[in-house]
Amino acid sequence: MNTLTDTLTVTFKLNSKPVALAVPPLTTLRSALREHLHLHATKAGCGQGGCGSCTVLVNGEPTLSCLLPVALVEGQEVTTLEGISSYGSLHPLQEAFYEHFAAQCGYCTSGMILTAKALLERNPHPSREEIAEALSGNMCRCTGYLPIVEAIEDAARKMEEGQ
């Protein structure tokens, strides 16, 4: 059992690299990423679990980092948008979002791309309906979603061709 007072230490795998940090006990994964590790791709959109802007992957599954105390990812694998491509290159989903004008203000984009990544890993050939369903926890006020859905369709096609 862990009894943690004032600050706790947590170690986990972040974008395939081990990381350790000491934070106040109830610090969320979102705050840990943004304020302690200074990875800013993950956005703070609501803190309520309602908008999906803070979505990251925990063990490959879309997770709301604003609602998850970082202490609970001890030993787990966390992927953020920073972790899906290296500097100067783009993941096929990033490429497709760029090509399809699927990011306008860009605030929901990180959550959208990571949610889509988890979807395509589970279901490489999703229908439009399945894509839209997978995105139903990720809100966007700018695009009207269609460019995002089209980008994901396109990325799925290209990822298959690339294999």
């Binding site: 309602g50 306008q104 203000c105 995105l135 139903s136 006020r141 700018c142 979603y145 269609l146 859905v149």
Partner: protein, 342 residues
């Protein structure tokens, strides 16, 4: 069980620019020794793509290639005044200021190029990063070469200043006479809806619209405004209210599960066509498009509901409950109006 379909239309105008004017924006452009152009603005990109549109306008006017345009915006220490991004004014006002600045910079560029090419500036054309003599395209010089010569050979600047202002006008308090816009964009939307007469739910099946927005700077970005606006308009029509029992303050929503906006699964089929009738005073004939796109879907949807089930819901948003109550009232008292079953 009855699901009834209907179609409604709406045609709207939208004014470009801050009402009554008085809203200046400035731009400064300077050429770096390597031939890149820095466009200095204190303007804001809200996500609509202002930075991209401005880069395109600057490149067009300068005759430079797009990748040599550096739009540096958002710092009051390093850029002149901009009134702000609102009132469908951004591309119109800032674009005009950028054209003015870019023309001045281009003239400086052509003057130096003329000396290098032993020609007169009036005979020169700048396009795609090169300057050539009209009629003899082989007599040419690249913009980086001109920029280098300007700095290190002639000791001259290549820069430009631009401002756009529609002077402030007043409203005549007696007649209402005023000058409330620079130009007007227009839209017509056709909405197809399905009304569930048991639940009162309205599903928007399709929004088909024609927009006239003057010259488009970037058609894909215009399309982004169109789709995003259509979905926002649909949400205004059917879902959204800060006070669900307006004017009461009760049940004031505070979260995304109380104040609903559409999810990706709520988006109808959206089709559009864009007409371009360039305006007389916008940069390259631009009109503002960002705000208008959310407007025409709202009445088109309300009119489609009437077409489907013969009730006017004149109090937004059109909640299922309002539809159901109106249908019951109609059933109880009878009501004029057509009803079309499909």
């Amino acid at each position: 069980m009855a699901k009834v379909r209907g179609r409604g239309i709406a045609a709207v105008n939208y004014p470009t620019g801050m009402n009554l004017g008085g809203d200046p924006s400035q731009a400064l452009i300077f050429c770096q020794p390597t031939g890149n152009f820095s466009v200095k603005l204190a303007s804001t990109d809200l996500g609509q793509g202002l930075k991209t549109a401005i880069a395109q306008i600057a490149a067009e006017t300068l005759g430079a290639s797009l990748d040599t345009i550096i739009v540096d915006t958002g710092d009051t220490d390093s850029a002149p005044h901009c009134m702000g991004t609102f009132a469908s004014r951004g591309t119109h006002r800032i674009g005009n200021a950028v054209i003015m600045a870019a023309r001045e910079a281009r003239q400086a560029l052509l003057d130096i190029a003329a000396e290098e090419l032993e020609a007169v500036p009036e005979d020169l054309v700048a396009a795609n990063g090169e300057i050539y003599v009209k009629g003899s395209p082989h007599r040419k010089i690249s913009i980086p070469e001109v920029a280098g010569a300007a700095h290190f050979k002639y000791g001259r600047t290549i820069s430009g200043r631009g401002i756009f202002l529609k002077p402030l006008s007043k409203v005549d308090p007696e007649t209402g006479a005023c000058d409330p816009d620079s130009t007007e964009a227009h839209a017509t939307t056709v909405a197809d809806v399905e009304v569930d007469t048991e639940t009162g739910e309205v599903t928007v099946l399709r929004l088909a619209s024609a927009y006239e927005v003057g010259q488009q700077v970037n058609p894909e970005m215009v399309n982004g405004q169109i789709i995003g606006g259509a979905v926002m308009g649909m949400a205004h029509a059917l879902m959204e209210s800060v006070f669900p029992y307006y004017p009461s303050l009760d049940h004031h929503p505070g979260s995304f599960s109380e104040y609903l906006i559409p999810t990706a699964l709520d988006v109808p089929e959206i089709e559009s066509v864009v007409l371009e009738y360039p305006s007389s005073n916008g940069p390259y004939g631009v009109k503002g498009v960002g705000e208008m796109t959310a407007n025409s879907p709202i009445p088109a949807i309300v009119n489609a509901i009437y077409d489907a089930v013969g009730v006017w819901i004149t109090d937004l948003p059109v909640t299922p409950e309002k539809v159901l109550r109106a249908l019951e009232e109609k059933e109880a008292y009878g009501s004029a109006g057509s009803r079309r079953n499909q």
